[in-house]
């Protein structure tokens, strides 16, 4: 995994791995299309990257479940993104690398020294600060120490997953390890948040490729997420949206509405307040996404998604509690705005269905958490 041919260009390394320039153009054109970049950017991106020196990536895993890395490396193998990320760029990742112990730590130190100021630091997982950092330590050093040191020489930090971006599940109430997102600890470096639990593999690699190609941080939204992927809500781009507009809602997961593929809003779909690319890029190589499989969006790419009440309560249900960076009032306003159209059409039935839903929920789902 660890390459020593630092003087080779990406094109030369791809060629040695059996990927021709044409194959790379095919790949980059598809990435540009997925990112809604101007179509000629695909070829430009391929030519630029091909002649660039090998990019360096240092990947740190903290308080996480490895789901993000699984999303990235196990999506559909073997792909060019896997090759560029894993074989060509990755200088340190404690899960994927063959080396361990002192050898692994010295590989990280060497990569950080050799590429000081140039490497991309990818962080996966939140940073626990409780108990002096003892909840997450490697090689006798706390996650916070390791992060601070690695951030010093980074050109940019890409936070992969909702835990690194917003604290995610570790930060959820009652946050027993005093976990924080990367942005709460590192203040002097460009941070790009690629949120999701896990994030889409195309979004992770697209963000990295764009940075490798341009050397620039892309346009970000207010949560520092790349706008090309997080510019629209799931609801905006959902193929079930026409049913929402017509007031046709599934009331339970096995009623006629569900069978007809109607809108899952009343079953708790968080699509209207969730920004991500699931509805357009889709998962598993473009096969499907949760709503297409019959389940509402759980809002996993948004700050505080775990503490926003039941995944099965409709957004307009005032069951919101402490919600990380999103103030409950703001969420309710968003939900009210989104609901306005649909509720006019189906107000009475919605009320009845919510009563029915509550009856079937576990009591804890309706309890405010830690408010």
């Amino acid at each position: 995994m660890i390459q020593t041919n630092d003087d080779l260009t990406v094109g030369e390394m791809l060629f040695r791995a059996g990927i021709s320039r044409r194959g790379f153009i095919q790949y980059c054109t598809a990435v540009a299309s997925a990112m809604a970049l101007p179509p000629w950017m695909g070829t430009a991106m391929a030519e630029q990257l091909r002649t660039s020196p090998r990019p360096s990536v240092v990947y740190l895993s903290f308080q996480e479940c490895t789901g993000c890395l699984e999303s990235l490396t196990r999506s559909f193998a073997p792909t060019i993104e896997d090759l560029i990320f894993n074989t060509i760029s990755l200088d340190y990742n404690d899960t994927l690398m063959a080396a361990s112990g002192e050898a692994a730590e010295s590989a990280r130190a060497k990569a950080m020294k050799d590429n000081f100021g140039k490497y991309v630091l990818v962080v996966d997982g939140s940073v626990p600060t409780g108990a002096g950092g003892a909840y997450c330590a490697a090689g006798g050093r706390s996650a916070e120490d390791t992060l601070r040191e690695a951030a010093k020489g980074a050109a940019a930090i890409v936070c992969v997953g909702t835990c690194a971006a917003f604290g995610g599940i570790p930060l959820a109430n009652p946050n027993p390890t005093s976990a924080w997102p990367v942005s709460a600890i590192v203040g002097d470096k460009p941070i790009i948040n690629v949120s999701g639990c896990p994030p889409m593999p195309e979004v992770i690699t697209g963000t990295l490729l764009q940075f490798f190609t341009t050397g620039q941080v892309p346009d970000l939204d207010e949560h520092r997420r790349p706008k090309v992927f997080f510019g629209n809500t799931i609801h905006d781009r959902c193929y079930r949206r026409p049913f929402y507009d017509q007031g046709k809602f599934a009331k339970t997961f096995d009623d006629e509405g569900a069978r007809n593929g109607w809108c899952l809003y009343e079953l708790g779909c968080k699509g209207p307040t969730t920004y991500n690319a699931c509805a357009t890029i889709k998962w598993n190589g473009g096969t499907s996404f949760p709503i297409e499989s019959g389940h509402g969006c759980i809002g996993c790419s948004e700050p505080g998604f775990w503490d926003k009440g039941s995944f099965y309560s409709a957004l307009s249900t005032p069951a919101w509690s402490k919600a990380g960076e999103v103030a409950p009032r703001q969420v309710l306003e968003l939900a009210a705005g989104a609901a306005a159209v649909g509720v006019v059409l189906g107000a009475a039935s919605a009320g009845v269905s919510r009563l029915r839903q509550r009856g079937s929920e576990r009591p804890s789902d309706n309890e405010p958490k830690g408010s």
């Binding site: 060629f15 320039r21 044409r22 095919q26 598809a30 299309s33 179509p39 695909g42 070829t43």
Partner: protein, 160 residues
């Protein structure tokens, strides 16, 4: 310059003799197809004047099956059809309109991943880059050296 008529005017992107904006019905085409064709005119003019290639991403446009049929009919078939077997199969079809190429890229599973109308002299994926050409020269040189060595070896082993 004293008179309005002396100011030179060049109309871009519109077929001559048609007042902009032309209603789609003028062409007997769906609105979406007419819009794509008008954009192609602009892109072709840019290519002709400044050699700037460009492309339209067909997958980013909402098109009905009927729109597709109309678009294919309007662009027609050109002289060149090429297939590239790299990471997946790409098909490159020249259209009847010089400079407009219909390019499809598929992945290893045969799924369509990109569909473009490229406005260019030759699509970039068909041309070879200078560094590849240098690699080709090296490969051929090595092949000749190896062939010469084989020949020498064969001669030295031949008792006659």
């Amino acid at each position: 310059m004293s008179r309005l008529t002396e100011i030179p005017i060049r109309i871009e992107g519109m077929p001559l003799g048609i007042e902009p904006p032309a209603p789609a019905a003028t062409f007997g085409l769906g609105g979406g197809v007419a819009a794509i064709l008008m954009e192609l005119v602009t892109l072709l003019e840019r290519l002709a004047q400044s050699q700037t290639p460009s492309a339209i991403d067909l997958r980013s446009l909402p098109m009905s099956p009927q729109d597709r049929i109309e678009l294919e009919r309007a662009l027609g078939e050109g002289e060149v059809q090429a297939t590239v077997h790299a990471e997946g199969v790409s098909t490159i079809r020249e259209t009847r309109i010089s400079g407009v190429w219909w390019v499809e890229h598929r992945n290893r599973h045969g799924e369509l991943i990109t569909e473009l109308l490229e406005v260019t002299r030759v699509p970039e994926i068909l041309a070879r880059a200078p560094d590849e050409i240098a690699l080709g020269a090296n490969a051929l040189r090595e092949q000749l050296t190896a062939a010469a060595a084989n020949l020498r070896e064969a001669r030295s082993n031949d008792p006659n």
